[in-house]
Subunit: 457 residues, 2 copies
């Protein structure tokens, strides 16, 4: 894209309060280390797990964060900031540390996805972008993984670009859905940027721009014999299927094979059975049926339960905006500052103090058994620790896994999550407990604050 | 941002099928004029109108659309396209026409938001981006206008950036909510790019990083006396309010005035009344109360019905993702090609043929009375035509209205929409009819297609 690095392009993509708070810290010479923890407070309806995604983007942002001369000129026009502070911003870089779950990790309510430690101005400034980036990809990876699960091995392709909430979301949805096992995307730019397989069929407009449907099919088969997918519902599914049969036979005569027919409307189970029969009756058992139109994990489940003969799904809008849960109650909270654990007590929003670690136990078969959220320094001999150091002194410590490696990691981890917790409806809550060290510190800090701020003893 | 123009950066932000279809058209030398119509098929639940937004972005894209050498090199690696076609893409520019609703227009189900006419490859290629761009801003403008309506004049500020679906959405939400009357945004980059007023308060982390809440308040008031908004719920709303009173009195002694206190959790109606009383008891009638935390049109309505003493709302996540309707059933359909009206017959998705115009009638008081969707060339003597020519030969015809002009236009138009159609729950359907010319042509084309494709007589 020949663009400036993310953190330079988007330094101002933040809430104004990040800068006013930073100015206060600067004024008070508050430069001590702060640790912020990113976590999701609550499952949305029907969610029992999350899939971590977006880490690579967050780290790229931190590594390249800087205010350009143009940014500073704009900030000067607001009249809010003095020149000392603006000059400080000019030299600001992120110099801190990050511990994080690798992309593709399974995690749960209240568990930190990542923890950022650094001088408070640097770690605070990054809040808005980090929440935004990690939240979107995690939202979509979680939603898309549910579709992968119920499709039971049938290929899924992301067709959501036109309906995603903006262009950035279009790219990230393609990436996050591939991470959890989608075969690829219709999104060409995502294909280029992330090295994803790209797929395409044809639009109804393509069919209607020809005098006859079959002409449109023939031209497509002629131009793209190796990837031909014929959309058959423009006028009528069955008549469309008959035209596809004719073209498939013509392709056979040329030594080619029609790959797919595509259904896009109507009663998918009934139509797919009829189309399957028609194809089979003509010896076209190898021609597969792709279905699109409002699919997500719920509709895939329904049509398969109805006996649909669908071999692959194009998954669009509802996955691309996470329609039944379009946001997470996600937060980036200060948990430690200047060597003191800190927290807020706001109604219903109490947070877990201090730097943490997640420990996970597995049973003899390798299945996930339960997690403990502990203080970072507590040793939990029976578990596996999940948060890993990924950044120090503002630099990524070692190359991050490739997207394909993360995809394999997700696949392996997801297979270890017992079915009851994976269920797309009424999942059983996965057991997550707090370590005794964390519980003790938590109640001690609550008491200290009540004493200090509210005069309670 | 020092970036390449939108259409150059995002030429590949499209579905692969746009390019495979284009290759077929190129192969067949199909370069005749096509017209595509962009419209929303159905109201989501509880919507009775839409607010048009995103046109400026769509036109900017069309004006600057071009494939870079890097784009073409990537397309070559897919092995799908021959060099003649890639060479054609190298020279491709959008050379067509656009008719559109001005941003800020009120429109309804099935009405075209815009119609694009041009050589079919150019007009088809733009589909994905145009839907994506117009859909998002229209979605948010529509949602945000509902909040503006129920706030009854109280200022609203967009605080959604951290939870929007990606960075592009963060910018567009700030723009679209300002278009319909929000006072401004917390989003600094949106402030810079669109000239929006920016607002900020402080985070809980800011409070918890100080030894005492009141220290945090004092430092903020000292640094930002003209825009001080003190967040009072970190430990306890009432004790926070008492600290704010102390600091407000200290500010008074310096000839300054505390602007706002901010509530962010708990029972907003009850707390706001108590905080109001406390402020008033100390002669701080001028200090206003800002509330944040899960607000959208529904929660604003509820807390005001409960008698909340809230003067301004920070509106975040639920508006920023249009939580109760996170996408539109929006489509960009071929309606005319090579001087012939065209349509598809897919179940439940029949589209209106040919180039169109919307005519609107107003009563003597200027209130909107009803719309007629007509063929472009039909004269409707009593109405006002809504779709305007905005682009010809691939260039914007005359400067588009500024965002502030569009905001005024929206305000004027929205006031003309009778309350029954604006209602945020169970709106009365606004009357939209089809002209006799459109109805006749529609049924004639349906018959022709049934005859031609399905052998019906």
């Amino acid at each position: 894209m020949n663009q400036k690095p993310l953190g330079e392009r988007l330094a101002l993509l933040t809430d104004l309060y990040q800068l006013t708070m930073a100015a206060c810290y600067f004024d008070q010479e508050m430069f001590e280390e702060a640790t912020f923890s990113l976590f999701i407070r609550k499952y949305p309806a029907q969610r029992g797990y999350f899939v971590a995604a977006g880490l690579a983007e967050a780290l790229h942002y931190l590594e390249t964060l800087r205010f350009t001369a143009e940014d500073l000129a704009y900030l000067a026009t607001t009249g809010l900031f003095n020149s000392h502070f603006l000059n400080y911003l000019r030299g600001l870089r992120f110099t801190g540390k990050v511990q994080a779950l690798p992309e593709g990790s399974i995690f749960f309510e209240d568990e930190p996805i990542l923890e950022v430690s650094g001088p408070i101005i640097e770690a605070q400034l990054a809040e808005t972008f980090i929440i935004n980036a990690v939240s979107l990809q995690t939202l979509i990876a979680t939603k898309a993984s549910r579709a992968v699960q119920v499709a039971e091995g049938r290929p899924l392709v992301d067709f959501s670009l036109r309906r995603t909430q903006g262009s950035d979301a279009g790219l990230k949805v393609a990436r996050a859905s591939f991470l959890v096992g989608f075969l690829g995307t219709s999104n060409v730019l995502a294909g280029k940027l992330y090295g994803l397989p790209i797929f395409g069929t044809m639009a109804h407009s393509y069919i209607t721009s020809f005098p006859h449907e079959i002409d449109a099919f023939r031209v497509f088969a002629h131009n793209f014999p190796t990837i031909a997918t014929l959309l058959i519902d423009t006028y009528d599914n069955i008549s469309g299927a008959r035209h596809a049969v004719t073209v498939a036979k013509e392709m056979e005569a040329r030594g080619q094979r029609l790959d797919f027919v595509r259904l896009d409307s109507g009663d998918m189970a009934a139509i797919s059975k009829e189309v399957r029969r028609l194809l089979d009756d003509h010896g076209l058992n190898y021609v597969r049926i792709l279905a699109s139109g409002g699919f997500d994990e719920h509709k895939i489940t329904r049509v398969l339960a109805d006996g649909a003969r669908i071999d692959a799904f194009a998954v669009g809008t509802k996955m691309g905006v996470s329609e039944d849960a379009p946001y997470f109650d996600i937060a980036y909270k200060l948990v430690r500052y200047a060597d003191q654990p800190v927290m807020k007590l706001s109604t219903g929003k109490v947070t877990l103090v201090d730097k943490k670690q997640i420990w996970r136990t597995f049973d003899a078969q390798g299945a996930m058994g339960g997690d403990i959220i502990a203080l970072r320094q507590e040793a939990m001999p029976e578990g596996t620790s999940l948060l890993q150091p990924v950044m120090a002194n503002g630099r990524i410590i070692r190359p991050l896994p490739s997207l394909r490696e993360s995809r394999e990691y997700f696949k392996d981890q997801f297979a270890r999550l017992p079915a009851a917790h994976r269920a797309i409806q009424d999942p059983t809550p996965y057991p997550v407990t707090l370590s005794s060290g964390l519980k003790e510190l938590q109640s001690r800090v609550v008491q200290q604050i009540r004493h200090r701020e509210l005069g309670e003893s």
